[in-house]
Symmetry: C2
Subunit: 203 residues, 2 copies
């Protein structure tokens, strides 16, 4: 159930932000269905739609997936990030890696099927669907964040989810109601990342 | 200049479709700026924003980039796709690969900077920005399509655009006004790609 009103496209896109703390309210299947429908309307190479969505609600299954994220974070991830992130962001990412998948009632594991798409084009065919999924969650007032830590243990993730060999886990996305309002996203000015006609010719 | 009205989020997402034929009308910088702003509001690993946008308007530069797409298409791409695509889609993709970059007044080459992000996380950090870019173009009534053919000649693309070694070209996206209205996208039913808790347990 959502009380959200329809939202304007740019309002959603310019205010999307990672959510890493969730409250315990349930998320209806009807909302997950809207989110997945948005995801599957992303483009893909040759329109082959090589994405595979594992919607994990079962507590034991979510805990197993969450354990992999936590393990990746505690066996190198935290150390790698500690020197690079602001203390504020580090605290938020730490909360997400430790408890995010546990708190959110739904975890979506997004995969690419290498028997449908080419390995070479799976990233350009699957991550746009992930972005549609995250945006749709935002549009409905839900919190979410794209994580890839658990994919470091792809084989164990595959075992937990009974994935065939050809189905490659690419992202783990918790979905739930945000514990607190999310502030605006922080971004660099366009001029630092955009060039005209040639690199180093500023936009 | 656009005459488009603000559009609802799901209306944009559920109607996005690849455009491969463009008319010759100019596309204002102000529209490109709205599109890039949307792109840079995508999430990225550690919020490092490792994307780099080359906005190519110069005719000679666009022709050089277009030549690479055409060459990749004619040296294997067409043959690979011919046995897999419907005749209707094959015709459209063929038109796009041969003439798309030439017809559209703007080509955006989207790259990932490996000195900012890790090589491992560039795809999950750059393709979501590509999707925001494509969606924003749709929201403004513009046509676009994500192509990766030219990245088969990454070294030549880098030479054309003066890219440093660390900046990896990942997608080439023509932007222009659609030559004709785009129909609705065609997608498989959700049940063919979504599973509950475990693979082969249908959603």
């Amino acid at each position: 159930m959502t009380t959200e009103q329809p939202r304007e496209f740019f309002d959603v896109v310019l205010n999307q932000r990672a959510c890493r703390s969730f409250d315990q309210r349930e998320v209806d299947d009807s909302l997950i269905e809207q989110i997945l429908t948005a995801a599957t309307h992303a483009p893909s190479a040759e329109n082959l739609q090589p994405w595979v969505f594992l919607v994990v609600r079962d507590d034991a299954q979510r805990a197993r997936v969450g354990d992999l994220t936590r393990r990746a974070w505690n066996s190198g991830g935290r150390e790698h990030s500690a020197s690079r992130l602001s203390p504020e962001m580090m605290k938020d990412v730490d909360q997400g890696a430790e408890f995010g998948t546990q708190e959110a009632p739904v975890t979506i594991v997004l995969c690419g099927d290498a028997t449908i798409g080419l390995d070479m084009t799976l990233p350009s065919s699957v991550f746009p669907a992930a972005q549609n999924l995250l945006l749709a969650a935002s549009a409905l007032g839900l919190g979410s964040t794209m994580t890839t830590l658990a994919t470091m243990f792809a084989q164990e993730l595959s075992t937990i989810l009974d994935l065939p060999d050809s189905v490659r886990p690419m992202a783990v996305i918790p979905i739930g109601w945000p514990k607190r309002p999310l502030g605006p996203p922080k971004r660099l000015p366009l001029s630092e990342r955009a060039h005209r006609d040639r690199y180093n010719n500023p936009w």
